[in-house]
């Protein structure tokens, strides 16, 4: 708000995972409405993010006029209806004066038609939440056309927006409409006041020490909590003394990320039954050993406090089946779907598990980052094969990326190597 007061009209806030991005956006919106009497537009990447934001905002600031702009034939979700969040299907019904209008950035585009004649925008402030997930084509134009001031808040380490279409002609143009919104805004020379949040409320200090240098080399941040506050304890001892117990004991001793490695089978497994079984076993063992969070005096429930993540949908489906067969109802999904969410403990299948050769998809630094940054307490990495060997054998094709484009595969490779080495050197890989 100070930057806007000084006359800046574009502000970007880079944030590490779990730093309170949405809280920041909510507070900014509330201040803009309460103090400045501004009309604020909030653009999200997906409809789910839109609804989540609207519900949170309504609960925190019930006195501020709020509207959710839905698609033309869309019915409000049951959650919005239950909490009486006003929803509109047509920008004709936008309220006049100060207030907040939440929609997907794509839907906000239609607001262009409702800009009053002679006005320079529809909103005094236009906010893009999770800006690094939004493609410039979706966010850049509405932001510029609709807002007199623009605020972008996002995590630069998350999975970059992707397209299934042939992207070559778009990538080789002057303006990169498929790049993430902040990257393209900065690249095309617009003046941006750049700020950064330097601490993560979610991540344990141990995790920050591992992932920050590897995945956020340009965003220095620390953990807001202490090691002791994020320690897990187990009421029951590890009677079986196998790899799972040893991994859990290491977590109890203060390591927030540990890995369990299965032997290589010599070929890539699309669906790895054994890894799925191991994931179930880890969850069961956490239940059996009655994990709790001493600092919060809280018993950990594996059905509500655990996530399982895997890069592939078919593999996730198999894991869901296995968890279901043991009556475990934890959330299992791909990192693309889970990004933005948080949990106490996450169990992840390493993106390079069972790979014989690393490729750009599996090396993507965003995917690894999402997987390693959802937990508040601990993350158990399951992997098949020797990751050091896969990374050691990797031959990078420097000519694969388009000129001028960041080499994501190389950045991912470096991050993978740094993180895996760090786990190996600190004795956290259990075979």
């Amino acid at each position: 708000m100070q930057a806007f007061a000084k006359g800046d009209d574009r502000v970007l806030v880079d944030s590490p995972p779990g730093a309170g991005k949405t809280y920041l956006v909510e507070q900014t919106c509330a201040r803009a409405v309460d103090d400045q009497r501004w009309r604020v537009g909030v653009g999200t990447n997906t409809r789910n993010q839109r609804d989540d934001f609207a519900l949170r905002f309504k609960r925190r600031f019930p006195h501020i006029p709020l509207q959710v702009a839905l698609a033309s034939k869309e019915t409000p979700s049951p959650a919005l209806t239950a909490e009486s969040v006003p929803a509109i299907n047509n920008f004709n019904y936008l309220h006049n004066g100060a207030g907040v209008v939440v929609s997907t950035v794509h839907r906000h585009f239609y607001g262009v038609d409702y800009i009053p004649r002679g006005a320079s925008g529809l909103y005094d402030l236009m906010v893009a939440d999770e800006a690094y997930q939004i493609q410039y084509r979706n966010g850049g134009l509405p932001l510029d056309a609709l807002g007199r001031r623009r605020l972008m808040v996002g995590d630069p380490g998350q999975i970059s927006p992707f397209t299934e279409l042939d992207a070559e002609i778009f990538e080789s143009a002057r303006d990169h409409i498929l790049w993430s919104l902040p990257l393209e805004v900065m690249q095309n020379g617009s003046a941006v006041h750049r700020l950064a949040i330097n601490s993560s409320r979610r991540l344990p200090p141990d995790t920050v020490r591992i992932i920050q240098p590897a995945l956020y080399p340009n965003l220095r941040f620390s953990a807001a909590s202490t090691d002791a506050e994020r320690r897990i304890a187990f009421v029951a001892g590890g009677g079986q003394a196998d790899v799972v117990d040893r991994a859990l004991d290491t977590i109890a001793s203060g390591a927030s990320i540990v890995a369990i490695q299965l032997p290589d089978v010599g070929f890539e497994l699309g669906v790895d039954d054994e890894i799925c079984d191991l994931a179930v076993e880890v969850a069961e063992r956490i239940r059996l050993r009655r994990a709790y969070w001493p600092h919060e005096r809280m018993q950990i429930d594996i059905n509500t406090d655990l996530f399982y993540m895997d890069s592939h949908v078919n593999s996730v489906t198999k894991a869901q089946e296995k968890f279901g067969s043991r009556s475990i109802t934890l959330r299992a999904d791909t990192p693309n779907v889970i990004q933005g969410q948080e949990t106490l403990i996450s169990i992840i299948k390493h993106p390079l598990s069972s790979m014989q050769e690393a490729d750009p998809f599996h090396l993507d630094p965003g995917r690894l980052c999402v997987m390693l940054s959802r937990h508040k307490l601990a993350c158990v990495v399951l992997v098949r094969g020797d990751i050091s060997q896969v990374l050691g054998n990797y031959e990078h094709d420097a000519g694969q990326r388009l000129l001028g484009r960041e080499d994501l595969a190389w950045r991912g490779y470096s991050a993978h190597q740094q993180i895996w080495n760090s786990l190996l050197l600190s004795g956290r890989v259990f075979v």
């Binding site: 019915t75 038609d113 800009i115 850049g140 510029d144 299934e164 002609i169 778009f170 002057r174 699309g270």
Partner: protein
């Protein structure tokens, strides 16, 4: 799909004949008149030295430049005129169809597009090296061809190797599929044939798969060029030049006949015809406008976004049309988790007069190992009107139970099935009006 292709490759190898992996063509049958382009580049250089062009099924016109490194372009003028004439004529008839043998040939046209179009803007100080306006226009036409090729679902530019690979799988290792001759051997062979692999290998040995002369011919051209340089007699130089042109023309003719053969083999297989003319109409009108008015390459965000929207829309439209007409393609999507079979087990309509309207239906989804059915996901009955958004999804011993909020087509919702479901067909992209408004707001109009 990866697993299906691997299994099909094994089957093809056993049968010594290409195996189809889809039930229908994804491009429409040829219009009355087609045009094929067979360009040849200099080995190791992105420079064109010969082009064969004309109607497939007839002998081609061939233009050559014996000393391509001289950067002379006048030899391309007849080709430029013929292509321009064909396109101008075809957009007024039905739709144009241009055949290109393989990806390197398309790549060569792309290089020509950039080179000759730019040469028209940045004139060479040496007038002898300035391309004629026909060649500059050829650069522009090549750019249009390249642009159309990148449009999802387009029906105008067919790169033969890619078209074959989208429909059939051979029993050879995938990198060999880049060779049109080898591919054609597999495609033309009947199931149970013998020696297909050997014949395909032999063809690959004699003709390169990269729109250029064979190694022997290239070396011969090099050696004759060397002799031309040394020769003092004009008559000898003329004779040697004719020798080079003969070699170049022979290579073009060989590639041309390979393309014809591949064309006949491709269309001779028993796949169902493709329907869905909408995209063709749009591609044709896009091209028609650009033939009449020279449109500069889009580089800025608004134009690129508009173009992306159109591509996204066409991709969705094309995919859903293919799934609707071809049960094999539907099964591929099902294997990949993008489609499923389900019965409607309950329909709950919001009573008349009650707001907001929230019609709901319950689905009983058949079990499949891989499914992308999540909250907020929008799905549609394949080929039908009923569209819903997932409100609840729950695993059951025999599959899934799901509840959808109906977004469209509630009148067609009735208990029964099973129906085929897939992703919602995308809505139409933003109209020009929105982009014009944005331009005016941003002061760009």
């Amino acid at each position: 799909m990866k697993g299906v292709v691997a299994a099909a490759r094994l089957l093809a190898k056993a049968r010594q004949s290409a195996v189809r992996v889809v039930g229908s063509y994804d491009i429409r049958h040829d219009p009355e008149e087609t045009f094929a382009i067979v360009p040849m580049r200099v080995v190791g250089e992105e420079i064109i030295q010969a082009v064969g062009y004309g109607r497939l099924g007839a002998p081609p016109q061939v233009v050559v430049e014996h000393h391509a490194l001289s950067r002379r372009t006048a030899f391309l003028i007849p080709f430029a005129n013929a292509l321009d004439e064909y396109l101008t004529r075809a957009v007024d008839l039905d739709f144009p169809r241009i055949y290109i043998a393989n990806a390197p040939a398309l790549e060569l046209l792309t290089v020509m597009a950039a080179r000759y179009e730019n040469a028209g803007r940045n004139l060479n100080p040496n007038p002898a090296l300035r391309p004629s306006h026909e060649v500059v226009r050829l650069g522009y036409l090549c750019r249009l061809i390249k642009d159309i090729y990148h449009m999802p679902g387009q029906q105008i530019v067919v790169v033969m190797t890619e078209a074959i690979r989208r429909h059939f799988v051979t029993g050879q290792i995938p990198p060999k599929d880049g060779h049109l001759g080898a591919l054609t051997e597999w495609l033309a062979a009947v199931a149970g044939a013998t020696g297909t692999q050997a014949r395909a290998d032999l063809r690959a040995l004699h003709f390169p798969a990269a729109a250029m002369l064979s190694r022997e011919d290239d070396e011969a051209v090099e050696s004759i060029l060397h002799k031309i340089k040394k020769s003092k007699s004009a008559l000898t130089r003329q004779r040697l030049q004719a020798d080079i042109e003969h070699l170049q023309a022979e290579s073009v003719l060989a590639e041309w006949s390979m393309l014809q053969e591949a064309h006949a083999a491709f269309w001779g297989r028993d796949l169902d015809a493709s329907v869905h003319p909408d995209i063709t109409k749009q591609n044709t009108s896009w091209l028609k406008y650009r033939l009449e008015v020279v449109v500069a390459r889009s580089r800025r965000a608004i134009a690129m976004s508009q173009r992306y929207e159109m591509h996204e829309y066409h991709a969705g439209l094309h995919k859903s049309a293919l799934i609707a007409q071809d049960s094999m393609r539907f099964e591929h999507e099902r294997v990949d988790g993008n489609a499923f079979r389900a019965r409607i087990s309950a329909v709950r309509k919001t009573p008349r007069g009650v707001q907001p309207k929230d019609h709901q239906i319950d689905l009983t989804v058949d079990h499949q190992p891989n499914i992308r059915l999540r909250l907020g996901h929008r799905v549609q009955i394949v080929g039908g009107e009923l569209v819903g958004e997932v409100r609840m999804v729950k695993r059951t011993p025999v599959g899934y139970d799901a509840t959808l909020s109906v977004l469209a087509g509630i009148d067609s919702a009735a208990i029964g099935g099973p129906h085929r479901w897939a992703d919602q067909v995308p809505g139409k992209p933003f109209t020009q009006k929105y982009y014009d408004k944005i331009k005016s707001v941003l002061g760009m109009s």
